[in-house]
Amino acid sequence: MNKGKIFKLAKGFRGRAKNCIRIARERVEKALQYSYRDRRTKKRDMRSLWIQRINAGTRIHGVNYGNFMHGLMKENIQLNRKVLSELSMHEPHSFKSLVDISRSAFPGNKNVVPAPQKKGLQILV
């Protein structure tokens, strides 16, 4: 019956949620809601993880993620972030060549206005 299906889905739950139908029913409903939501957020989380890994990989070579991607876009290299993160982990030399391509296409923000320094009370003296 429905109870059998509920208990089958409630395997591994904590405490009475795996044994007692009233509690298990609530927790299973919640679990299914979470899995619905998380099938959508999983795509976002994976992309965020790839971006963090690419960021770390490029900072080893002195370039940050933003400038790196800008350089790749300029050169019309359409590698996606998943592949770039795998390259940065497993193929470090190929990744370094990509960083060099990006750096030659976009050398970075060289003409940044420096942040205003705090002069303190010495300007009045």
Binding site: L49, Q52, A56, R59, I60, V83, E86, M89
Partner: protein
Amino acid sequence: MSVLSLAASSSSSLLSFSSTCSSSPKPPFSSSAKPALKTPFVGFSVAPPQKLWFPSTTDLSFNNEGNTRRSFEIFSSKTEDFVRVPLDQRWMYEDYEVDGPDIWNNTWYPKAADHVNTDKPWFIVDATDKILGRMASTIAIYIRGKILATYTPSVDMGAFVIVVNAEKVAVSGKKRNQKLYRRHSGRPGGMTVETFDQLQQRIPERIIEHAVRGMLPKGRLGRALFNHLKVYKGPDHPLEAQMPVELPIRDKRIQIQK
């Protein structure tokens, strides 16, 4: 690999069976005259008919010479050998996929061997005249592992960090006398407040530990990461055997401006 071993066992079993066919309980096949049962392999002594039609054992028997249409061969670059695959599984294989799991289309997740504590690097920071928060931020980044290309948020992949001269850490502005450290024992009226200066006289390591703990994730993993921070009061530390390396700090404003 499994197909190859199956092939070896099946061909040997066929060979052995054909040599002892006279002792089989089935109606005996004579090796010379035409056999009583109609089999496709005329003139050869064969196994009982039902064994013939398993695709994996048929092709690899000594009756079939070369490639037949029952299976096809893929060259595996890893083992430098030909691997036989039955035709009905042909759709599963491309040439390059015979040798192992796909690492390019799945996001890598570390195995246990990728984050053994004994292989992690050790770093050392001298806290003399360094701004507290800026130094703690760099330490937390290294402990969490965010500088590694193999960073994984759910796994402890970071390094160990040793801090020495903890009592000489500096803060800017009037924080030395005005920054408050609070703790509560849980009972009513149990709040204790002390200033940065007082805590530095009492237990200087706690200042840096408090700062770094606030910058690490909170939770089971965060508490485990916090144990990778070792803070010491004077210039010496008992961890010379780990051969710690100087922590590369890129923050330009970390040294206090006197």
